[in-house]
Subunit: 400 residues, 2 copies
Amino acid sequence: MSIFLDLIPVSRAEEILQDIAPPMEEEWVSLLDAYRCVLSQPITAQEDIPGFTRTVVDGYAVSASDTIGAGEALPAMLTITGRVGMGDGDAGIVRPGECRYVPTGAVIPDGANAVAMIEYAEESGDEVLVYRAVAEGENLTLQGDDFRKGEMVFPAGRRLSSRDLGVLGALGVTMVPVRRKPVLGIISTGNELISPDKTPGPGEIRDVNTYLCRGYAEERGTVPRMYGIVPDERGPLEEAIRQAVAECDLVCISGGSSKGERDMCAAILADLGTVHAHGIALAPGKPTIIGTISDVPVLGLPGHPASAYVVLVALGDVLIAAMTGSAAARITVPARCAAPIPSARGREDYIRVRLEGHDAYPLFGKSGLTNTLIESHGLLRVPDGREGYEKGAEVEVILW
Amino acid sequence: MSIFLDLIPVSRAEEILQDIAPPMEEEWVSLLDAYRCVLSQPITAQEDIPGFTRTVVDGYAVSASDTIGAGEALPAMLTITGRVGMGDGDAGIVRPGECRYVPTGAVIPDGANAVAMIEYAEESGDEVLVYRAVAEGENLTLQGDDFRKGEMVFPAGRRLSSRDLGVLGALGVTMVPVRRKPVLGIISTGNELISPDKTPGPGEIRDVNTYLCRGYAEERGTVPRMYGIVPDERGPLEEAIRQAVAECDLVCISGGSSKGERDMCAAILADLGTVHAHGIALAPGKPTIIGTISDVPVLGLPGHPASAYVVLVALGDVLIAAMTGSAAARITVPARCAAPIPSARGREDYIRVRLEGHDAYPLFGKSGLTNTLIESHGLLRVPDGREGYEKGAEVEVILW
């Protein structure tokens, strides 16, 4: 193969990833286990929430018209005819000139249409003095105020947050239809790699990418499965890839940053399946390989950890999102370039940046280093149609 | 007790939480299990990383002075004396007029101080033509370029990201000293509450806060333990609190939004331990209770789900951060008020906002509702010394 890779644009790589992404099947999980799962179906309210009109304060359920003109000097005087308890289904009735005590969250009696807060009322025997007029509907949550029967509350593809779990509880959804979490296989290749529990000898380097990919897998809501360090030899590498493809929904192979290694990885993929791309107009990440074996997507990542991580964010996110029918599990924020960022047309650049308030400071580091990964807050993408950004330009930053 | 709570400022509540936070003990976990754990000790590089000078490209290790003046028309001609393999400890030596092939990541031979990329070189028999001059140090990562021996790489209190895991691998830290994850006990109280798998009868409401608190606990890196729905009765509530305090590192009791319930919860806390605060100048969240029983912090949250969640973010985050010696596990971004936000001096307001680019739109909803929790992107804090924010004001938003 040529020294020069045949580069495809990132937009084409994204199309390929969409095409090859195997959709994850639906499964039902307990609401207790649904945190960060992706909904496989929209969730619709099966009834009005709340199911009845409630008070949001402690006070007296009244007919608002009975309090017209009430004030400190001239309170409205109402007869108290009872007290509603929490969870009481029958709150009784409030007739003109009457009121009933209601604790926060209780049902409003028939005939009442507002609640006077206890802070502005005074009970004295059978009478309650109300020192402030209340408007119709005041201090009430009406039936269906939160969600109406039949309303779609969550679309399919929603990644469930802690708040979503609470709302699913309110909706009575205790078994949740979600996409199965993809199993992400992780292979690190390289004759120079040793396990981090060993001390490197001359020419040896500890394996970083296994841990980087594992953390990424957890961060993105997938299930990591590790295949360890594999030497850059045809036999062991092919065996590891076969096994990972048989056991996983997608496989990331990192390493092979040299031409010989890249070519061997691509050759194995071509023999066992299909190479869709070898070389992407992306920096860092140019030598990335996209393949499939038996419909399992395989990403060949650069060996440099920082480059590998950028490719995971730039392309892995697209693949996982397509597999789960969701948006990428990441946060993007607007920011302002604090320094000019040069780039080249025809290539998409991902620049590590440090955020200080609204300002994004580019961190340019040597590509083999990892320190910018931990000193930066995220990535600034320079699309391939741009030659960079001027200082002060409004941009988006993908938060780590 | 009085209808009116004796409110303390949020700053005082934060001090109390710092004071009562029990520090989590140190434990050692495998690097494989360290994602999102909080470091209990700083991590220092035990040796230079990388431990040797490496090439970051495929090419020819040369003495830079041998390439002075080299160009397309007049390449430098060097004798190739060998090829360095990945992981080779001994890369040999490059003398003036010589070069050696080096694949990306390999050791640089003695005598070489730069690498000419294969893209700009041509091999022909024993000779290599180099078509571009290289400067000293070009295409090299020097020993210690990433981290120097003795350099502090992570401070204690760092919450480990996926990138941090990779760097810990590089540093050879396979067992990681971390703070034990706090066990967060969750109690929902209320006679009106039913389990979400039941259909509410008149006056009944499904339990939301158990799921909200559980999700929050997972989001914040704690271990949730649930005690279910407890009726607002002295005996069962006291029993549930006793059990939770015995088994957990902190306990959140939600519910008791009515005065009677709040008073009962506070009375139990006072009997079993100490009530440090009952009523905080915070909206929503005014009736919040802070207590301790046998040195276990207990937060009494409002029953309204949205209010309970705001208190978890406003105060729970402070408590958990103090327990683990870390910053709060949340992201804050700068934003601009897209509408005026009124507030009151002497009270800290937390407004749910929707972000559109840099603009934060306040969502004002009735306090009993949960829909704003899922329609918003985060919280805008209005400190108690302010009367609000004008449209266009620069603010910070705590992302959900």
